[in-house]
Symmetry: C2
Subunit: 231 residues, 2 copies
């Protein structure tokens, strides 16, 4: 006990960069809350809050996200820890930022707790953000762009059943460039990690597309053959 008691301690927060994909608008969205209190009151910020004792930062991020927006069961991974002096006017506050990917259509976020409002906003052109949250968002965007190419995490932005065109749109929006349709389909199908379903997308004013589902078991088998996901 003694040793750690002798040292001054920072406040510890967990912030969450939550991305969602708007397929119709072909836009990447980020979930922001309007601060109801404290410094930057009224400004947009990333959802987040103080980590509780006996709680790991990731769990705190998930808890705060649910408290402020109602979003649950969200894929989260640690992004980076921001601890530059002066990043928070309240004093010494260190933030463990996490990256989250959710289906935009699955749950409607609602403002609760410290949030006056919640909204999906353009991740590439966000409003001015509180604290150093702009920098955190930039870091998250870079990480997402890097990671999506060699890890199958993009599926978390899509519904469980999706068309290949939707998957391609996902990559085009995040990588910010057009991809060739035939080559994209060839490559993703050749990995054998998608389950081809006997259903098609309905309610469309043109030919209906076949639906696919990401299959974690096939992905595991794929990896064990020494292969690596890459797009």
């Amino acid at each position: 006990m003694a040793l750690s008691e002798r040292h001054p301690r920072p406040a510890l927060t967990a912030d969450c960069v939550v991305f969602g994909l708007d397929l119709e608008a072909e836009a990447l969205k980020v979930l922001l809350v309007r601060r109801a209190r404290g410094p930057f009151r009224g400004a947009w910020a990333l959802p987040g809050g103080f980590v509780a004792p006996g709680e790991c930062p990731q769990a705190a991020a998930a808890r705060e996200l649910e408290e402020e927006t109602g979003l649950r069961d969200v894929f989260l991974e640690q992004l980076y820890t921001f601890g530059e002096p002066g990043r928070d006017p309240r004093g010494w506050v260190v933030s463990v930022a996490s990256l989250a990917l959710v289906r935009l259509d699955a749950q409607q976020p609602v403002a609760c707790s410290d949030a006056r409002a919640v909204a999906w906003q353009d991740a590439y052109a966000p409003p001015p953000l509180a604290f150093d949250h702009g920098r955190i968002l930039d870091t998250a965007l870079k990480r997402l762009r890097g990671k999506i190419r060699y890890q199958p995490i993009g599926f978390r932005l899509l519904p469980p059943k999706f068309t290949l065109s939707q998957l391609q749109t996902l990559y085009e929006v995040i990588l910010r460039r057009r991809l060739d349709k035939r080559n994209f389909r060839k490559k993703i199908l050749s990995m054998g990690i998608l389950e081809e379903l006997d259903e098609t997308e309905r309610r469309v004013a043109h030919r209906a597309a076949r639906l696919y589902r990401f299959d974690p078991a096939r992905y595991e088998a794929f990896c064990e053959q020494g292969a690596a996901f890459s797009l």
Copy 2:
């Protein structure tokens, strides 16, 4: 002020996974200290210590590293933040771990401060480590293996002037597999990021090898052409 004051605070530490490369032994080394005090007294651990107010975690890692081992001017990047409850018997202690790469031959580490001893040990077969430092080391090894292939950070493990064989040994040791000599040379030279010197390695009982130097300016030019480092 008020808001953050109301919340319990963790102790914040910065730990450092310092890698060095032993070219003769073809071994990857990690710098460990023997703890002089506190929990796990007498056990091997990563260098590190408490972060001071007004100090960013990275800077704290550098400071602690110098205090405990004398190593200065070291390349550091943030690795991961470990905050699982129970990871430190003293209570709630969150650690921001950093990854460091140094030249094994450049500076001799010496035990000072909280360290009873300092030693370079086999990174792939370390002694039992204090706290969750074994897990931190594993995380660092994975990160290093992943990163070295698409970022030119390996050079920091070598002297400024090095032979292509030394560079190849570096990759073989970290990736843990043999590489083809001709293909390796072709690929690294084709990037045009090395400066070919008119000097050769001396004091060898065989043909002397040409020396090269990593050229940051050429690397920048290389990147701006849209190319990407990869090995």
